[in-house]
Amino acid sequence: MVDYVFERHLSGGILLPANKSSSTLLPIRRGFVPTKLVLALHQHRGNPAKPVVKVGDRVLKGETVATSAAAPSAAVHAGSSGWVRAIEERPVLGGNGVQPSLCIVIETDGRDERAPLEKAAAWPTAASAQREAIRAGGIVGLGGAVYPTADKLATPVSCKTLIVNGAECEPYISCDDMLMRENAAEIVAGALFLTDVLEAPRCIIAIERDKPQAMEAIEAAARSVDDSRLKLAEVPTIYPAGGEKQLVELLTGDEVPSGRYPGEFGYICQNVGTAFAVQRLRAAHEPLSSRIVTVTGGGVRTPQNVEAPIGTPIAELIALCGGYNDGVVRLIAGGSMMGYALPDDDTPLTKATNCIVAALAEEVRTDTHEWPCIRCADCAMVCPSRLLPQDLLVAATMSDHGALATLGLQDCIECGCCDVICPSHIMLTERFRIAKRAVAAREHIPVTPPGQD
């Protein structure tokens, strides 16, 4: 018997072309060993990890190469066996774009030799010790926010509901879908384990309606464990239904107040990939040293999902998937709505990289022309935060900090829905990002009105 939770209300959102079918034709490609690993020490929110290896050391697969700093933080592990060749600054995609970041560079030896299991201690039973084990296992939120899971589990209030997020609403990304299809039992076990750690009365696994195979697999796994705390939810295929606050609204009808986190109100959200990683750590003593990444887009020859060691150079991932097609113009880390356009393919895979889109010109926006705003308010219709982007735009161009605060600039989640629906092609989200930075710095907002040409 598997219980379903029915959806409540979701504000705004938009139906987008999913572009997920090409990357879900092949099973997840596993066992890939790149020639080198570039492991950033700061690949999670919070404090960067501290290296515990030195240049010249040999490391094994699963070995800790950097330990957790003061919370929030998490350890970093080698994804394959090899030699530490350098500890130096390399360009890595982080929270503020591609910037030089201290990395441990490992030249792999191709043997993929695993650290002996005896090194792993027995799994603890106390909740705080379990959280420390999760921190030492390098586990962070794999939905893209990469907040250290140990710190997210240390909630200030008791958890009412653990939401395991398998919505995966953003176009192109299919790593969670494929993981649910292939590793449903581990995900369900990991979800229930997290429910135990949180002492939560219920756990909802939420999956978007466009993933029937994933839902079938999860439902079968849930039926076999037969735990009354476990519920499933089929959520509508609408972007951004998988956003943390949006999912809380969708599943519970509650809204998380402005500027606060769901955890402060008893809702903890964990990505299905995180649940899987936790289960691997607990059951097989395998730390988080690899993740599933979708390599897709019209610009890559064989789109597919790859289980790749963290630190794999993106160029090697692309080569593994058959290389580039002619006409690729953009390389996006993430999906087409919130992803970051990479300058080149030299940067490494991080724990945050759920998808790499090699896009052809016809797949992405290349024309920058904007017409003036015609005040159609379609942006307000799709805004999941129920903001009025057309009014925010006017306030931003007038550098009116007061109006921006009243209109809720800080509640913009930068999902990009307004840009895509705008018939005037106004780059609203980028203007709002600029406005947020200027407001934080109490500066004049350097934003021009659209349609001035």
């Binding site: 015609i374 018939p423 040409d453």
Partner: protein, 344 residues
């Protein structure tokens, strides 16, 4: 290999301003054909002349303002203004009426406010009101619909176009002989003089609900409106409350006194009701911008249309009602902001 690095989102926009404008023009096409069938080539001639005037004045003012005309002239917005204005004009007017109307709509209502997206008032309706106030005689020269008046000698296309450009009429005819009052005029005048509504409707100009021909044009305009709703170009809020705001008082008063008030069906299928509900009031720039605000805005226009038709001096009131509610938009927007997610 190096790649371009614009900021997110990377997905292509789903529609564009020219596509929206093209959809509006497409939605009006069936009604234009129907109008031409019943009333002759007047609408098409008026559209051609308003469009020329609108595009020329738009180009001229953009030059004066030192703006690039490349995108502004191609966005289709001036053509939509021209099309809406030409639907509002009588089909039988001298050529300078549509020319002045198109020029006034674009300069006075649109470009003087800053061009596309800046107008506080609906440009087509500003052009229409300017004309009806300035040239009341020419603006009431309606032709009867095909088969609407058996004594009537229909004009050929050549005679019609000849009058528009030269003012010349065929031998033995003058303008008064070919033009007729509209059903709205007849109802207003009839009710004012105390004739019962049912008797007024006995005139051969009346059809099943509104005027013969007019009601079919209204049907096709509504069909175009449904297409715009389906395409997502307009949303349901304004048309729904516009029609409700008009039909509610119409129904109540008609039920109380069926002789003294026009029927709700007549209101629905007469004059500018359908054009106003689906094409004029939904013009986004000058309409309210929030969902709740649009409900209020539409209802206000509908109620005002009924009030002007019933108690005002003009037979129809769509243009005045839209402009009055345009003026209320900043206030409506201010008090109908949606509650932001997570705020109380």
């Amino acid at each position: 290999m190096r790649f371009d690095q614009p900021t997110a989102p990377h997905a292509r926009p789903l529609v564009s301003v020219p596509i929206v404008m093209r959809r509006v023009l497409l939605a009006l096409a069936p009604a234009a054909l129907c109008h031409t069938w019943y009333f002759g080539p007047g609408l098409l001639v008026n559209f051609a002349l308003t469009a020329v005037a609108a595009l020329l004045t738009e180009a001229a003012v953009l030059r004066l303002r030192g703006r690039n005309t490349r995108y502004a002239l191609r966005d289709g917005s001036a053509l939509v203004t021209a099309a809406l204005l030409s639907f509002a004009l009588p089909p039988f007017v001298p050529f300078w009426i549509p020319l002045i109307g198109g020029a006034i709509a674009i300069t006075l209502a649109k470009q003087l406010y800053g061009g596309l997206g800046k107008n506080l008032f609906n440009p087509a309706m500003v052009g229409y009101v300017f004309l009806i106030v300035s040239f009341p005689v020419e603006m009431t020269q309606w032709l009867p619909p095909r088969m609407g008046d058996l004594d009537y000698r229909p004009l050929s296309v050549a005679e019609h176009v000849g009058y528009v450009f030269t003012g010349g009429m065929p031998l033995g005819l003058d303008v008064d002989a070919v033009t007729r009052a509209t059903p709205l005029d007849l109802v207003k005048e009839g009710l004012r003089t105390g004739r019962p509504f049912a008797e007024i409707r006995g005139n051969s100009l009346f059809g099943d609900f509104g005027g013969r021909g007019w009601e079919w044009v209204a049907n096709f305009i509504a069909l175009g409106g449904l297409y715009l709703l389906y395409a997502g170009t307009i949303r349901w809020h304004i048309p729904t409350t516009f029609l409700a705001g008009l039909l509610l008082p119409a129904t109540v008063l008609y039920l109380i006194d069926p002789a003294g008030f026009a029927s709700p069906g007549f209101h629905l299928f007469s004059g500018g009701t359908m054009l106003g509900a689906f094409f004029i009031a939904t013009e986004p720039v000058s309409a309210a911008g929030t969902d709740r605000g649009r409900l209020i805005y539409g209802a206000g226009i509908g109620l005002l249309v009924y009030a002007i038709r019933t108690w005002g001096t003009y037979p129809d009131g769509v243009a005045f009602s839209v402009l009055l509610m345009n003026g209320a938009v900043p206030l409506i927007n201010r008090y109908t902001r949606p509650r932001i997610y997570g705020q109380r």
